[in-house]
Symmetry: C2
Subunit: 141 residues, 2 copies
């Protein structure tokens, strides 16, 4: 997505367009995997844009509220990771060796939610499924 499109996207959502927001979205859109606030901070600095870590957090918070990004916390890591919200239901496959995160769009839970609704009288609004294992490279060791 081009810089102009990102600015457009921000305004469409009632947000001011700033170089920091554009940079954050740009990074998130390009990354194929979720990334932490601190890593976003580092990436932006690599682009020779000065930014403060709290600005990263505040912007992620704002983008989150507008639904432009999603936040996820994975088992065994105390920090959250963020990704551009591609509006698809996703699950994740996390490599316990190198910590790489792979997104999976396939979802095996469809009918199960209804079954649980019937069994428990709860109203289910969503679910979170993550798989843990070892990627081909880490598997060898």
């Amino acid at each position: 997505m081009k810089k102009l499109d990102i600015q457009e996207e921000l305004k469409k959502n009632g947000m001011k367009s700033t170089k920091h927001r554009v940079a954050i979205l740009d990074i998130l859109i390009k990354k194929d995997q979720p990334i932490s606030a601190e890593n976003i901070f580092f990436e932006i600095q690599k682009m020779d844009v000065a930014i403060n870590l709290s600005t990263v957090y505040r912007n992620l918070e704002a983008l989150l509220e507008k639904g432009l990004v999603t936040k996820l916390s994975l088992s065994g890591d105390s920090r959250s990771v963020f990704e551009y919200n591609r509006m698809v239901h996703r699950h994740y496959l996390i490599c316990l060796g190198c910590k790489k995160i792979l997104a999976i769009e396939d979802c095996p839970i469809k009918g199960y939610e209804h079954q649980i609704e019937d069994e428990t009288e709860y109203q289910i609004v969503g679910h979170k499924l993550d798989l843990y294992g070892y990627c081909p490279k880490c598997k060898k060791k």
Copy 2:
């Protein structure tokens, strides 16, 4: 489980039996739902046993290593919760209203792990599935 059995269980796992450890396990065994370190701390104080929060953390860590308890971090909460390890594979149903956590022993993922192994060449070692929704009480509001 009785106090004596808990002491037995601790020794069987090569741990010294202390009043704090017994109290922690006792609380965990009685609770039907996962509980945070701080809440364990409060519960122990209610039993008129003096304890420090760092002792709770250190003991949970030790019990975790011995496999006597399990730790889980749930989406949208920055603190971890713990439960007695009943040696069953479990999923959780979290009420977004009152935050109650219900354990579900049924698991719909069985075959899916193999399918993903075939598709991705990863070696899957486990998964985490949590459902989010509203319990019968909170559903009404």
